[in-house]
């Protein structure tokens, strides 16, 4: 019979569909795992409501649980996800791939976003500026590093 530990390990191998350097567990969208005999219940908190990756995430989790020989029950929880739920390891992986992790503690204000210290993931300089609140997906903003003259993507604080 499958154990909760084994399920967590399997879920930790699923990459985020849009930012594949980080896993769903590191992203913090898996809230809990419960095993009841053949049935595995996963509590899942989506990131952004408009994110098209949600169905993909849900299907992939269900698929992995089936591979373990169990019956998946992936429940979308009504409580919200926050970018503070991204693990330390997840933040490190984001940074290493040129993707600035979110600053801590929502709610953000425009002034905080414009003037706060948002280090460049490439050179570490905090001499960066907001280029666009919005980016290629709902979870990203675009910033520009004045020190190494490189635009970069910043995970939004949510």
């Amino acid at each position: 019979m499958v154990t909760a530990e084994r399920v967590w390990e399997a879920l930790a191998e699923i990459p985020d569909p849009e930012i594949p350097v980080i896993s769903l567990v590191e992203l913090g969208v898996v809230r809990n795992v419960e095993v009841n005999g053949e049935r595995v219940h996963v509590g899942f908190t989506p990131t952004f409501l408009g994110c098209p990756a949600l169905e993909v995430m849900r299907d992939q989790m269900a698929g992995r649980i089936r591979e373990l020989g169990a019956e998946p029950d992936v429940e979308v929880l009504s409580e919200g996800w926050s970018s503070d739920r991204i693990t330390e390891e997840g933040r490190r992986k984001l940074r290493d791939s040129g993707f600035a992790p979110p600053s801590r503690g929502a709610p953000a204000t425009l002034v905080q976003i414009q003037t706060g210290a948002h280090p460049c993931p490439y050179c570490g300089s905090t001499d960066t500026r907001l280029d666009n609140l919005f980016g290629p997906t709902p979870c990203r903003s675009i910033r520009y590093c004045n020190a190494c003259r490189q635009p970069f993507e910043q995970f939004k604080t949510l």
Binding site: L49, G50, L133
Partner: protein, 211 residues
């Protein structure tokens, strides 16, 4: 919260999301192409979440509510129906008025005794914070622009119509304006029909289609 109230929220977000997406590719500059496309995507995501709650009460599904109703059955406010490309000043005026009004009604929903509604309002509020920042940034930029000020005056009665009467005093306070007459929900503008035809085209040609 009853299904009619949920549908008002969902229809507002869907139709405005659609209107915002009309700027994709033709906004005044690239950053705004990206911004309006992203805002449209989030609004439509919020619409879907509200439709899902309404669908549970009505025993149907979100796609059927979004795409299978007749135009006169939509409950959106006239403000969101108007086609505003290629008038950037009016677009920003509507964006600013809408996001401010939307915040007021979401704040009320945060305290809903329905846990699903309150939970969803909380999620949506966090995401909408970025829409508000964007709207306020633009309103600040255009503040002294006559075309923008005229657009705010023109759209004010329509913006009032987004909110139930008891929430309007707070809205007036936010803009330091007198309430005046509102254009209420109920009658639709001429802009809705062409939008509806385009939006529901796939579902009407292939009933039950999903994509």
């Amino acid at each position: 919260m009853n299904a009619q109230e949920l549908l008002q929220l969902a229809d507002d977000e869907l139709v405005l999301g659609w209107r915002n997406s009309e700027w994709t590719g033709i906004a005044p500059f690239l950053e705004e192409d990206v911004a309006f496309s992203s805002i449209a995507q989030t609004e439509i995501g919020h619409a879907r979440a509200w439709y899902e709650l309404a669908a549970k009460e009505l025993g149907t599904d979100a796609d059927a509510l979004a795409f299978d109703r007749a135009p006169e059955e939509y409950l959106c406010a006239p403000l969101v129906e108007m086609r505003m490309v290629d008038d950037w000043a009016r677009t920003i005026a509507r964006h600013w008025l809408y996001e401010t009004a939307d915040r007021i009604r979401i704040q009320v929903l945060l305290n809903s005794i329905d846990r699903e509604v309150a939970g969803l309002a909380e999620k949506i509020d966090r995401e909408e914070a970025y829409h508000r920042m964007h709207a306020e940034m633009w309103a600040e930029r255009l503040r002294d622009e006559p075309r923008f000020r005229e657009a705010v005056d023109e759209l004010w009665p329509y913006a009032l119509g987004l909110l139930p009467e008891e929430q309007r005093p707070l809205f007036c306070q936010a803009f330091e304006r007198d309430e005046g007459a509102a254009v209420e929900r109920g009658d639709h503008t001429e802009s809705l029909l062409p939008l509806w035809k385009e939006m529901t085209m796939v579902r009407r040609s292939v009933p039950g289609a999903s994509w």
